[in-house]
């Protein structure tokens, strides 16, 4: 492998994933056995898992992310209001086990429709999605590891050789810079082994338009970067991918977003997770750096702005109460937003030419990030 700088230990990664799968399936099976033996001994099946209610979501300073507290909820078939969700949960565990043993994957929507073949009724897809989140909590495992994926997909581009592990493609390899539109981050990619890369950093960018601009401007070779389009708030698969790239390839992660309060929060979710996934681990990159656009950059780079809306101000005051926003650049930039009462988009740099963002802004911010 000629351009190899960092070669991952293929066999080890492969084993890790296989080992995880075996472990997850055994957890599912244990759940089934518990329910089976409850019934056999004339007890109503009961399932316990951590509560995801707002009161049980706490900020963990050590891991710098939201985690679930010690409250648990119990679903029991002896309660007439819960027997239906116990049935749904048991079915879902069975269905996920089937998916994994057949090496098939399924979207959230597929799961909702599959239930109908088993006489398990859901009122609507949100109910089905909520049961999937319950099962995640029961076995503390993200749905993606159960081969259940959301529809949303973001993209990746850069010099990274991968080897597929999905059925039918085992051993096939691909280089993620060989397709100019980038590769979709889906089930196949997020479970692939990372074989080889020359990249030295990862740049996650909020918007598809800028992602394409970065590819055109050859940011991947100029800065030796793997570029990821998060397509707005990064989906879990993408966050899982970022985490793996950071951990397995030991690459720093940088984030570029619009210069508004939502952009700031997109960066924060990559760094420290979302409250909605407080029951899950392995989705955060605590060392990731938010390059910008910061509120203070707006004046510094004389960027064209848009006035902040009432919603924007409301969001700022919400985030001001969030423990993760109490210090550093996070806190400071929120204050600047309140001062200037304006926001801007990544495309604002086009005012100074299409390449300004890549040629001027990116290097300056990367330099600044070193001292953060």
């Amino acid at each position: 492998m000629p351009k190899s700088k960092k070669q991952t230990k293929h066999s080890k990664s492969q084993n890790d994933i296989e080992e995880q799968k075996v472990q997850i399936r055994s957890q599912l099976k244990q759940l089934g056995e518990k329910i089976y033996s409850d019934l056999n001994s004339q007890r109503f099946p009961t399932i316990h898992f951590p509560s995801r209610s707002v009161r049980n979501i706490v900020y963990d300073k050590k891991t710098k992310q939201y985690i679930l507290g010690s409250n648990t909820v119990t679903r029991t078939a002896s309660n007439i209001k819960q027997i239906r969700s116990v049935t749904q949960l048991t079915w879902l565990a069975f269905f996920a086990n089937e998916l994994m043993s057949n090496k098939k994957s399924s979207t959230l929507r597929d799961v909702y429709y599959s239930s109908q073949a088993y006489a398990v009724d859901y009122t609507d897809q949100p109910e089905s999605d909520a049961i999937i989140t319950d099962l995640e909590s029961v076995i503390s495992t993200a749905r993606e590891r159960l081969n259940i994926y959301p529809e949303e997909r973001s993209a990746i581009f850069g010099d990274l050789d991968i080897e597929y592990t999905v059925p039918g493609y085992e051993g096939n390899r691909a280089n993620l810079s060989s397709h100019p539109d980038g590769y979709l981050i889906g089930p196949s990619l997020s479970t692939a082994d990372f074989v080889d890369t020359s990249a030295e950093m990862i740049i996650a960018i909020e918007k598809g338009g800028l992602f394409n601009r970065f590819i055109e401007e050859k940011v991947h070779s100029k800065y030796k970067a793997i570029i990821i389009d998060t397509a707005g708030q990064a989906p879990r698969t993408t966050r899982y991918m970022l985490k793996r790239l950071h951990k397995e390839l030991n690459l720093p992660v940088y984030i570029m977003t619009d210069g508004d309060v939502y952009g700031e929060h997109i960066a924060m979710v990559i760094v420290s997770g979302s409250a909605g996934a407080a029951h899950l681990r392995d989705l955060t990159v605590p060392s990731a750096k938010w390059l910008g656009i910061w509120a203070s950059d707006i004046a510094k780079y004389k960027l064209p702005t848009i006035p902040m809306t009432e919603m924007d101000f409301k969001r700022v005051s919400e985030l001001k109460r969030d423990p993760r926003y109490q210090k550093g650049v996070w806190n400071k930039e929120l204050d600047v937003f309140l001062q200037i009462k304006a926001k801007c988009e990544l495309e604002a740099f086009s005012k100074y030419g299409l390449t300004t963002i890549v040629d001027k802004y990116l290097p300056e911010k990367l330099e600044q990030a070193k001292s953060m």
Binding site: L28, Y36, S37, R43, A77, I80, T87, T90
Partner: protein, 513 residues
């Protein structure tokens, strides 16, 4: 200043009501048409019931031909026929042509209270159209006596214009035909409500009503049971007034006060009379005619304050009873649940009364909250619901305290209140709402509470039956599914043995109910 000379002259009762027709419910053409219809129908019902005849009543309202195209109000011909006992031809002209024709002192439970309703209708027709009234009546079914008459308002006496005898068709009865100015368009709702609500408490009557558009409404008979006819009774001393006493003394042949009291009053015997006159400090051997004005006042006051008179007894009353009220509720409202409470007799100011309350839930009782049907001596009360004591009671219990009775919001609930008495305490002569006598309020409250308690029992029984069924459905559906999925997930060969627990659970929930 010159003196204005004021002259005083007596007026006849006819003239009094002619001048004050608002009092009797003839204030405008719409209300007059409704009131005239109602008065005549009530006379017919009273006549049939007092002779224990199952009433057949036919009512027709027709616009007169030459006014078909004129705007309301216009002239209508109102015809009311019944199969009652008929009226003695000697008395018939007075019955329709003289206001206040009736017995003087006796009391009975009847729809008509002031003895003037039918005559007022005739009077009103005569005033507005100057046409006479035509009455056909037969007491034997063989001969019908036809009278054409008008009222001499000043003299308060009938003037017979024509009198003939025609061949009968074998059944007794009375038909009244009169012309009057009315507004059928505006009266329509009330008239229809009246027939519908009447049908609810007279399921033993067959009523046919043809309205001004020629549409026929037929209320069939749903029971052959008539309420026990009411009996005339003497007045109770507690309810007797000065004017009554003055007239009684004028008319009486009784030689002394003791006789006067025992002969003319309800439940007053020799002992009671003796004790009473001791209490009143009046010599009971003195002649009634010798009683001074002051002593009449003294005696009436004493009659009101003496507490040892026996309470009035209720044999003279004729409540509808459970069967009739229930038959009416079933045929007009066909509810999913009905119940009836009949209170024991009670009395206010010497007048006996009985309160009956029916409750209907679901079925044809539309949802949207509590509907109240008020009756007094079987007359539907349609106006001024809010001022009626029955409405206050129903509002307090069935609306403001509905949680206590587990009544759901917008419940399909109807309450029927019936107060029967020898004297219903109407606030006006128009028979529209009951005054708030505490004794009547208390009995209404007790009756309404009783039916609401039964409703609560019904609703909770029903909801627990539904709950058992729901539990059964849910557990027989989901528990086998859980068993199957857990079998497949754990890789076992056979289903877990969950059947005994399912069976036990269902039996237990059945037993809890």
């Amino acid at each position: 200043m010159s003196k204005t000379k004021t002259t005083f002259s007596g007026i006849s009762p006819s003239e009094f009501f002619y001048r004050n027709r608002d009092l009797a419910g003839f204030s405008n053409p719409a209300k007059a048409l409704y009131t005239a219809t109602r008065e005549l129908v009530e006379n017919s019902l009273d006549a049939c019931e007092s002779s224990e005849i199952l009433p057949n009543i036919y009512v027709r309202m027709t616009p007169v031909v030459d006014q078909l195209d004129s705007p309301e109000p216009r002239t209508y011909k109102l015809k009311v026929s019944d199969n009652g006992p008929g009226i003695d031809p000697v008395k018939a002209p007075d019955a329709f042509g003289r206001v206040f024709y009736g017995s003087k002192y006796k009391l009975r439970q009847a729809r008509g209270m002031f003895g003037m309703g039918g005559t007022m209708a005739v009077l009103y027709g005569q005033i507005t159209t100057s046409k006479p009234v035509v009455i056909y009546t037969s007491t034997d079914g063989k001969k019908f006596h036809k009278f054409t008459l008008r009222i001499d308002i000043q003299k308060n006496a009938p003037v017979i214009i024509n009198k003939e005898i025609i061949e009968g068709k074998g059944s007794t009865g009375t038909t009244v035909e009169l012309l009057l100015t009315g507004d059928a368009f505006r009266a329509s709702t009330k008239v229809h409500d009246y027939f519908l609500e009447s049908a609810l408490v007279t399921p033993y009557a067959e009523i046919t009503f043809v309205d001004a558009q020629g549409k026929m409404f037929y209320y069939p008979r749903s029971t052959n049971t008539l309420p026990k006819p009411s009996q005339e009774t003497q007045p109770h001393p507690h309810g007797f007034d000065f004017e009554g006493m003055r007239r009684l003394i004028e008319d009486t042949d009784d030689k002394n006060l003791h006789k006067l009291l025992t002969n003319n009053f309800h439940r007053v015997g020799a002992t009671t009379s003796t004790n009473f006159f001791k209490f009143a400090k009046i010599d009971h051997t003195s002649s009634p005619k010798d009683l001074s004005y002051e002593n009449i006042v003294k005696m009436v006051d004493a009659m009101h304050s003496y507490e040892s008179f026996l309470p009035p007894d209720s044999h003279c009353l004729s409540p509808l009873g459970k069967d009739i009220l229930n038959a009416g509720i079933m045929s007009e409202l066909s509810p999913e649940f009905s119940t009836i409470a009949i209170r024991p007799p009670s009395a206010y100011s010497g007048f006996p009364f009985i309160v009956e309350v029916g409750l209907a839930y679901g079925g044809n009782v539309g949802s949207g909250g509590v509907k109240l049907f008020r009756y007094a001596n079987r007359i539907p009360l349609l106006y001024d619901e809010g001022s009626d004591i029955a409405w206050q009671v129903v509002k307090d219990l069935a609306i403001d305290k509905k949680r206590a009775y587990k009544i759901p919001d917008n419940a399909p609930l109807a309450l029927i209140t019936h107060v029967c008495s020898t004297k219903v305490p109407f606030k006006t002569a128009g028979k529209e709402f009951l005054a708030d006598r505490p004794e009547i309020e208390r009995e209404l409250k007790n009756a309404v509470r009783e039916v609401l308690r039964k409703l609560r029992l019904h609703l909770s029984r029903q909801s627990s039956q539904e709950a058992v069924k729901r539990r059964r459905d849910i557990y027989t559906k989901y528990l086998p599914l859980i068993a199957e999925f857990s079998k497949d997930l754990s890789g076992k060969k056979n289903l877990p043995n969950f059947q005994p627990m399912l069976k036990a659970y269902l039996e237990e929930s059945e037993a809890d109910n």
